[in-house]
Amino acid sequence: MATDTPAPSPPSESTQTPGRLEQSNPDYDPNVVIEAQNLTKIYRDFWGRQKVRALNALDLEVRKGEIFGLLGPNGSGKSTTIKLMLGLLFPTSGRAIVLGQNATDVAKNERIGYLPEESYLYKFLNAEETLDFYGRLFDIPAKVRKERVQELIQLVGLEKAKRRQLREYSKGMTRRIGLAQALINDPELILLDEPTSGLDPLGTRDMKDMILKLRDQGKTVVMCSHLLADVEDVCDRIAILFQGDLKEMGRVDSLLKVSGETQITAENIPESAHEEIRQLIAKHGGQNVVVDNPRTTLEDLFLNIVRESEDRPGMRPAGAAAEKKPSSDQTH
């Protein structure tokens, strides 16, 4: 099992009351937000026969202030892990400690926000009522609650639709209101189950920016996804699960670093200089040299086009994006 140094946690003073374990357990480390010990979950049928082993002896530690990604194909145990952390499922064996308290303890939920895989919300309520309802479940003064409802509606961009019942919402809108309800209590720990699923690229980008912003505010985010690009973009550390087993865990940058290869990027180098560079590298013993123009990602292209269009509505000449940055070269 791979381990790595966790991300340095920003020094933030917790204003919340410490959990019971925090007070009673001398080994309790306030920087560890989630701790799974030998966590196992076996699904059984009505007769108690084993149907599937969804999670197998998972040991995991999420530290304060990091974005932790759970990665894996469908059915690998990501959602099960999150549900165990939330107390929605009871572990078959092992235990999950969240914010110093047992995962089944209701009190921990005061400091948690959860966005489920699909936003499971009451379709007969409108956005304002939804947030107001969830807000009432916390010990927040009425005035603060009302302000926060409006703030969050603004934050997720649903001002125009706040009086419409959720049954009329598109999938993207439902995800947004789902995120807003997860943030209603200004939580310390946010658990996001497939946060970008069903969102358009713009929404995905917004969601990712939001996650990063939450991290910058000192909050801890745990997300699970099978969209690798999203995980790569935002996560500090990841764990890769496959069929209930933890296969890999560590910091994203060090896991993705390819040792033995060097990348040089420069602008405004003419084609004629390529051969010269190649020779120079060969002189130093470099092999498999590739000199060409780098490719942007489809996501960046799409976002550029959309943002430009917002500034300049109307027809846009095809291929304009390619012409925009013609002279950036890349060498491997």
């Binding site: 929605l88 064996s93 209701v106 309520l125 969830y134 479940l137 916390f138 209590n185």
Partner: protein, 671 residues
């Protein structure tokens, strides 16, 4: 309907509370055991202890830290759900339609239409709100679990108690509001449907509409029935609301010094030759329970006769029952059930009228009444005593002649060795067999005062309240049979003094409180069951419980067993034995062949019947909360019954909340 025992709330409460605690305790023990079994199956026998202990340990803080704020938030959600899913609207629409067109099909030709109307609105309201309560509560939580909306709720600091209580409170609020609305509309509907007046049939609304009564036969020319005493003329009214009344002009003869009748129905005043004054008054004879006040404007032949709006439909009679009924046999010694006349009635005892050879009989039934105070009775010259007497005729005699009974009033001394006793003379009356008859007991009764040694002190007319009931308020009414070879049957509920009527709206409200209690239990049941069953199963189980609840008395009687485990009421054995008899075509009187199979059948039957018995005690007794019979027949709902009903409802709500809590707490929300 009859009530043989009337438990006082104060007497009922403590044993009731103990029984409730015993049920909760045994339920808890069973629950723990069952929980342990399941946990042992899943986690092994040792880990199971820890799991069960954890659930129990978490339950205490869960109940202690239940936040009213969150309960209200959950309740608000439940209310919004109920309203926006339109269940309430549809229920109300059905009710409104029934009320709008229901009167087309009701009341036709009945003498007591108020009974049909009140029965209809109460039954309709009850069924509709119970069904609504069931639909709301059965679908809410299972839908939340199915749609996974519960994920976003339980991941907030919400305890299982708050989810359960919030739902119950929310649906209860919606149900209560709807019930109040339905109650008000029903009250208005019944009042509006029955309110009516009539006109006289004849050339004009004056005395010209009347014809003279045949003084010889004393029978009506319209109906052929006997007219009232002193009746001079009669007339008929128009037919409205499916009935008409007979009007009579009767002669009210008073001496010149007596005051005039204090009413507006005097049509003629005649000074008679003997110096007395005859007031001729127009009377409207009642149909069923109602009549109309008559107003005469002017005097003489041109006086206009007007009938007012109906009165007497809405009554809440207050029966004051005796605290003890004792029978005495022919020799005068107390007997438990009176004279045995065969299996005539289970609840009535019979009083013997003596025989031709031995006319002196001491057989009698004595009713001891407590707290007979003047302020409990209507402000009339007499105290109404309602009797429903049964008669057993040992020889046919004159079938048209009614059996004569006797009533005697006695005081009950606290210290019989020292205090004198008031004993009235026997007042004889004709029994109105197997129907309610009201005897006006005069407030001044002729009798005698007897010293403790039996010697006569004085004779005279004594006051019913001041002398007979006296300071301790105790009164003994002695019923005897005055016809030889005849028997009069009476039970404890067959004789009561009628107190001051209660306000009808208050009685109507009490009837609705009964329905409200049923609704609360239904909602709690639906919510509790929906914590571990899917919607269709919740519906099915709740309806089953409802059926058992409404018929628990019948089922209990059906499953009654004696000490040996034999069924008391039914011949032919329990369910399995009956089935065997049907299949093998054996009649119910033949004993089954004794042997191995017979023993097995008997044991299985005993088990089934015991389970059935237990079920009737576990299911809420909805019949106990159904006060419609009181309202339909115009009696005030007994306050003790109401209090007992409310307390029972509270007990069920507590029990069901506990059940719901533990089921929700121990279940995995996610799949």
């Amino acid at each position: 309907m009859y009530v043989e025992s009337f438990p006082q709330f104060s007497e009922w409460f403590l044993p009731g509370l103990l029984l409730f605690l015993a049920v909760i305790l045994s339920g808890a023990v069973l629950g723990l055991f069952f929980g342990y079994l399941v946990a042992a199956f899943r986690h092994g026998p040792f880990e199971a202890f820890y799991v069960v202990a954890q659930v129990v340990a978490e339950a205490v803080p869960d109940f202690l830290h239940t936040s009213p704020r969150r309960v209200v938030a959950m309740a608000r959600l439940a209310i919004k759900e109920a309203l926006r899913r339109r269940v309430v609207l549809v229920t109300f629409a059905i009710f409104a339609l029934t009320i709008l067109f229901g009167s087309w099909f009701m009341g036709g030709g009945s003498e007591k239409p108020e009974q049909i109307y009140v029965n209809f609105v109460l039954w309709g309201t009850q069924m509709l709100v119970l069904l609504m309560g069931l639909l709301l509560s059965a679908f809410s939580l299972p839908d939340d679990i199915k749609n996974k909306t519960i994920y976003t709720v339980v991941t907030k600091p919400v305890r299982s108690t708050e989810i359960i209580l919030g739902r119950m409170l929310g649906f209860a609020t919606v149900g209560t509001l709807l019930l109040v609305l339905m109650g008000l509309i029903s009250y208005f509907f019944v009042w509006r449907s029955l309110d009516h007046s009539h006109l006289l049939v004849g050339p004009s609304q004056t005395v010209a509409a009347f014809t003279a009564v045949d003084t010889e036969t004393q029978r009506s020319t319209v109906t052929g029935k006997r007219v009232s005493q002193n009746a001079l003329y009669e007339a008929a009214t128009t037919r409205d609301n499916d009935h008409w009344h007979r009007l009579e002009i009767i002669a009210d003869v008073r001496s010149a010094e007596d005051p005039k009748p204090d009413s507006q129905d005097v049509i003629r005043t005649i000074k008679r030759a003997d110096g007395k004054i005859e007031y001729q008054r127009v009377m409207c004879l009642p149909v069923g329970n109602h009549t109309h006040p008559v107003t005469v404007t002017g005097e003489g032949d041109n006086a206009q006769i007007t009938l007012g709006n109906s009165v007497g439909y809405f009554r809440a009679r207050v029966p004051i029952y005796c605290s003890q009924l004792t029978f005495y046999n022919r020799e005068g010694s107390p007997s438990k059930k009176g004279t045995n006349v065969g299996k005539e009635s289970k609840r009535r005892g019979y009083v013997d009228g003596g025989s031709a050879s031995n006319r002196s009989t001491l057989s009698r039934a004595t009713f001891s009444f407590d707290n007979v105070r003047e302020n409990r009775f209507p402000d009339l010259d007499f105290v109404p005593l309602d009797l429903t007497l049964g008669v057993y005729r040992s020889y046919k005699g004159d079938i048209e002649k009614r059996v004569i009974a006797g009533l005697q009033f006695e005081s009950i001394a606290d210290k019989p060795d020292v205090e004198n006793k008031f004993i009235s003379e026997v007042i004889e009356f004709e029994t109105n067999e197997f129907a309610v008859q009201t005897l006006p007991v005069p407030k001044k009764i002729v009798g005698r005062v007897v010293a403790p040694d039996g010697s006569l002190v004085e004779e005279g007319a004594y006051d019913l309240f001041d002398d007979f009931a006296g300071e301790n308020g105790k009164l003994l009414i002695v019923l005897s049979c005055r016809d030889i070879n005849q028997y009069i049957g009476v039970g404890k509920s067959d004789a009561y003094l009628r107190g001051q009527d209660q306000a009808y709206w208050w009685n109507f409200l009490k009837g609705y409180i009964g329905i409200w209690c049923q609704l609360m239990i239904m909602i709690a049941l639906g919510v509790a069951l929906s914590t571990f069953l899917g919607s269709p199963l919740v519906m099915l189980s709740a309806v089953a419980v409802m059926i058992v609840g409404f018929n628990s008395v019948f089922i209990r009687k059906l499953a009654e067993v004696d000490e040996q485990g034999n069924l008391i009421n039914e011949q032919g054995g329990g369910p399995i034995e009956s089935f065997v008899r049907v299949v093998t075509q054996q009649n119910t009187m033949v004993e089954l062949d004794t042997g191995f199979f017979d023993t097995i059948i008997e044991k299985l039957d005993y088990l089934l019947v015991s389970m059935l018995q237990m079920l009737t005690y576990l299911a809420p007794n909805f019949g106990q909360l159904n006060f419609s019979n009181y309202l339909v027949h115009g009696y005030a709902v007994d306050n003790n019954q109401l209090l007992i009903g409310i307390a029972t409802t509270g007990a069920f709500l507590m029990g069901l909340t506990l059940l719901g809590y533990f089921c929700l707490k121990t279940r995995e929300i996610a799949k």
